[in-house]
Symmetry: C2
Subunit: 169 residues, 2 copies
DNA sequence: TTTGCAAATGATAATCATTCTCATTAAATT
DNA sequence: AATTTAATGAGAATGATTATCATTTGCAAA
């Protein structure tokens, strides 16, 4: 496993720092929202799936399947790993969750927000900043038009060194 | 494996189409360039590494480690899979190659071009368009400034339906 | 050129995220 | 309630990636 100079595994998400240079968007989600998500994917509403979606929402963003499984188990012993994994995949296929991969690490998931945002990640400490930039989105559409593509989604991940990691040399 | 409506595996790179809506940037690379790449990573220049870089350059872009290994073997029976794999990882770490992942499929690699570009991929047929957009790059820098980040690199992948796939319904 | 050492190599085994299988259970529709 | 079809859970299978280690090689000092 790659480590940075502090011995921290690169790319591992740290607990949310509360520093002002970090930004997370929070959103409200109701059980009705979740049921609609499931139905839109032509899947059946089950207690397992409701629990999985609730855990996805309530817990830290950018969670791995394994981590999510552990959270889910605390609410219901009997939910299997395969169910969590399978459902995450179904959700990702329908863009109801966003799958983020970094290096060869396990995929991380977050509920696709109602209001789109992109990510900027510090490669030293793993800190993540969420941002919205209308101009970038507009220029993406222009590129698509230019080649006649109809865009369905995109991945924009910025990587760099955060202020704190620049300071600590 | 996920398939689209034509039974083609989604996300698999097809041979370069020659249609006008597709765009690839080609670049010249010399053996000296390759030696410099290796030295910049503090690695030693070996025949194996030179062959691997030459194969990366000469063959289709966005190649998997396995595919590259097969190409390399045609030039030298004795080069092992581990050598190819390891070197690709070293190159990716130093951003000398760009690693692209889609779904759970094996990573695909391309020589990081001298002139940066990003990708737009058709989710139906796998066609890839490479594009350069100065405005997007500038706005990315603005976002970074806003949060005090020093950008090192980024991933921008647009996904959509290409003109040809829109037509064929 | 010979020698010494650190790095690279190649074969193979190990790891581990992801996917599959299948017997059982549950959701939705009538 | 009965029928139909999808979902579930346990575990095995898959397959990409990584690690290990004995051997070889690059490189530079003597
Ligand atoms: Zn965006
Ligand atoms: Zn940082
Ligand atoms: Zn770019
Ligand atoms: Zn297409």
């Amino acid at each position: 496993m790659q480590k940075n100079k502090n011995g921290i595994e690169k790319g591992v998400l740290l607990p949310r720092p509360s520093s002002n240079e970090t930004q997370f968007f929070d959103e409200e989600w109701s059980d009705e929202d979740f049921k609609n998500i499931i139905r839109k994917l032509n899947l059946k509403v089950t207690p397992q799936r409701m629990i999985i979606l609730n855990c996805l929402h309530k817990n830290r963003k950018h969670i791995t399947a394994q981590e999510l499984f552990e959270k889910v188990q605390k609410l219901n012993e009997d939910i299997g790993f395969a169910t969590v994994y399978r459902f995450l995949k179904d959700l990702a296929l329908g863009h109801a969750v966003t799958e983020v991969r970094m290096g060869g690490m396990p995929a991380r998931y977050e509920l696709t927000p109602k209001k789109h945002h992109d990510h900027m990640t510090c490669t030293e400490c793993g800190r993540i900043v969420e941002f919205q930039n209308k101009s970038i989105e507009q220029h993406q559409e222009k590129v698509a038009e230019q080649f006649g593509f109809k865009l369905t989604h995109h991945v924009l991940e910025l990587y760099g060194i955060c202020p704190s990691c620049q300071t600590h040399e």
